[in-house]
Symmetry: C2
Subunit: 567 residues, 2 copies
Amino acid sequence: MADNKEKQKKAVGNEKMLAQKETNFADWYTQTIVRSEMIDYYDISGCYILRPWSYSIWEQIQKYIDTRIKKLGVENYYFPLFVSQKALQQEKDHIEGFAPEVAWVTKSGSSDLVQPIAIRPTSETIMYPLFAKWIRSHRDLPYKVNQWVNVVRWEFKQPTPFLRSREFLWQEGHTAFATLEEAAKEVEDILNLYASVYEDLLAVPVVKGRKTENEKFPGGYYTTTVEAFVPASGKGIQGATSHCLGQNFAQMFNINFENEKKEKAMVWQNSWGLTTRTIGVMIMVHGDDRGLVLPPRVAPIQAVLVPIPYKDKDNEGLFKRAQELADQLEAAGVRIHFDDREGYTPGNKYNHWELKGVPLRIDFGPKDFEENNVVFVRRVDKSKTVVAQADIVSQVQSALEDIQKTMLEKARRERDSHIKNITEWKQLVPELDNRNIVMAPWCQDKECEEQIKKRSTIEAAAAATASKKKKRGGRGKKEEEKKEGEKKEGEGEKKEEEKKEEKKEEEKKEVNKDGTDNENKEETFEPLSSGAKSLCLPYQQPEGIEGKKCIGCEKEAKIWCLFGRSY
Amino acid sequence: MADNKEKQKKAVGNEKMLAQKETNFADWYTQTIVRSEMIDYYDISGCYILRPWSYSIWEQIQKYIDTRIKKLGVENYYFPLFVSQKALQQEKDHIEGFAPEVAWVTKSGSSDLVQPIAIRPTSETIMYPLFAKWIRSHRDLPYKVNQWVNVVRWEFKQPTPFLRSREFLWQEGHTAFATLEEAAKEVEDILNLYASVYEDLLAVPVVKGRKTENEKFPGGYYTTTVEAFVPASGKGIQGATSHCLGQNFAQMFNINFENEKKEKAMVWQNSWGLTTRTIGVMIMVHGDDRGLVLPPRVAPIQAVLVPIPYKDKDNEGLFKRAQELADQLEAAGVRIHFDDREGYTPGNKYNHWELKGVPLRIDFGPKDFEENNVVFVRRVDKSKTVVAQADIVSQVQSALEDIQKTMLEKARRERDSHIKNITEWKQLVPELDNRNIVMAPWCQDKECEEQIKKRSTIEAAAAATASKKKKRGGRGKKEEEKKEGEKKEGEGEKKEEEKKEEKKEEEKKEVNKDGTDNENKEETFEPLSSGAKSLCLPYQQPEGIEGKKCIGCEKEAKIWCLFGRSY
């Protein structure tokens, strides 16, 4: 286990200031989640502590999904954490997909177990032997199971809090139907629910689409996905997936039923999951240089009331009135906090709540007290409004709704400006390097997809090296940055990212000198020189695929595919 | 892994009838939980599947506790499933208490981990290094953490669904205070909450008390407990515990703070937990030979409406009216189910819902339809009442309240009749054998407690052997049972239990012949010949301890202690 002191030190950074999101995204992210008290680090790499400021957001997401899936007839179960080797290996493609990441329990106390037992990386192979037992007749269908649990995937990619951790929380739905049509309909219902979690709750726009054959769920039939985008890194990120499993698992686990004609038939299955990753995406999309920016619908505190006391006068009346206003808001169901702490200036309090991303601040000073007003300050755009106390409840409610809407619109505008339609190979890597993802015509061939990944990786690496060389031979840093700043959007930041990469490489060398276990070395971001992966085949296709050539192999294109760097 | 087919076969038993609770409690329990669809067995011993019929009860319990602890200022976190060896071993008594049951992860994929990692058996050693970091000042106190998680204790005692499983679900609260007084107050607040979960939600009476030094939480200062009782086995069962940890962990993990005088001080800590065991206790206490009997406050379905159709007449009107009544009840917040399935007789439906323990059945036949009535049939006492349709909502609501009350009173009467105050050693084992637990004067000495356990175990074993011999030399079974039945309550069942024990011993031999892994052999009940353990030192003490002698060592008694066989 690596000692976590170093990580913590880096995470906390300068007490007063966060790293800048645009120029040092990795440190910004770590500092923001630690200092806003969302996350703490732990002495096992890839495991993190979710503190109430993030866990309560997970509770909001749980409530949102749980209510809605129960209406669809899904019921909650709890299946064991452990899976026997035999069951885990029953579906071949499935186990191939998960095997390298499976954590194995081999001892209890000081005794060896007779057989090692796996910790669930997902629960298909845990649940389906039971499905085979429970499902007998068409009257048992559809069969709809969900559970809210922890799962473990011992990944060796760099862990990142929320986005990629070795243990994470999720819900996993597992359902069985008599027909493919019913299964396919549910796949879409759930995909829409996931899109709604992102867009309506977290104010994060997503692209709905289907995964390519290479990227689909191991052992499944097809996978649908909602893909989000992180402008600061220019990377796509898989938001949540809804899989149609077809009949592969049914065949392996003998999940049969007697249909209405009294014939033996095989079920069609789905599985679908949404994880705590959602919270990380939300943070990355909305946060700014002052810290978190939380959407009102999930913010643990939606509005904070900050009293600004008289300097040389009794404040009893002012505080009493502030308390009354807070009580009114609480009674109306607003998650309000009255920050009446002593020993902190209003300025301290502003910084504190900005860091924590509270959507609405309500300032209440002597002038407001005397004139029966309050002042609203919105976290998302710093805008200020004077509001009459008499209207406070309705005004807070509509401000929160408006902030939610504003956040989604802002994120959508930004995301849209980073999706580029391209038709030629030579555009690909430059667009990635401009922190964009691309929509490109594609032939839908597996081999071609792999070639696109490989070729773009090589070209990106070459471009990065060339750019470094140019920089080394060139001008002073200040001058360079200034000139770069005048170029088109994104270029300046690219240079910064490169610097960061160099710094990281140096750090890596130092770490290795210390003999520290590489497994436990954390980086929030992969090298910028990584290539393009297919993110999804978007449902909403640009017009005119006819006659276009595939961006990879130049054969006839069949579909527009979203490619990009990704988490 | 043992094959679970045999277990399942035994669990399902005769399709039509359950084993009898009084004469074959072990099979009754297994059959009841499987056939009511609360539990299913799994191919890893000690792990079970919670199906919606039990999991939704857990959700009710979660909601009840979660709302109340949040009002006490407790916040939900999520800490990792894994704990490093180093952290786990930091508090010596604590690790000694848990070490033999800890499950260790030693591999990921096909690689060995550098250090084995433990799966949490409880989270003191996971959380407290973070407490040391988070708690700085008296202003940070009290610090109140809770999490709802799975934990793993790889016990080698016989596993029993809900009561003792290798993985279980619980909440664990962990709190830190500036003073012992505040900590002690919270210990009691939580103990009262736990008592309320049992009594007010699950209708199970409990005895509140303190654990002896031998039985307290490893590494803690003192442990309080709510102890329940299972009349059918005559055993006590620990319901939930609320521990004051004192400053032991604070010392080991350096959890200090600056007090109001700017001095360094050490926190006082508590931890407290309630598990899915609650559900098993509820089943054992209330169930009867027809299956589950669920308390209305947690029943997934509180009332089921069963239509009894005309034999030779159109039933459209009757079904339509039944649906209207169900809709009215649903709108009023009753968890009502209208069982309009075709192809099942009303008798089939009665049996089905009785097995599942639905508190109230509402029969609705031709006569009721014509006379604007319905008929209530209460699960707990089979009582029938004719109720006017006009009053259905208020009548269902008051019936549910009354059933809840009746169940608690009934369980309390039964429990009370099984708690015997004794003052002499010779009364102890006979009372245990009468399926009682005893309140006895005790000296509060550790050694004496261990002696009581040992001596009573030996005497109980001798009594069991003597009783077997007597039976072997004696009368025919039928006659014996009849005569025993005339003797005082409990005696007759004792003989039955002994027969069961003999049968089990035979089964055990067979299993061993097969070479089956003993680890995976499940039994719901320990041998009846087990001795007496201290259950708790009840808060509510009988009068007159002065001048009494300790039941064990005959020295001066200091306190009344509850002793009994226990799970």
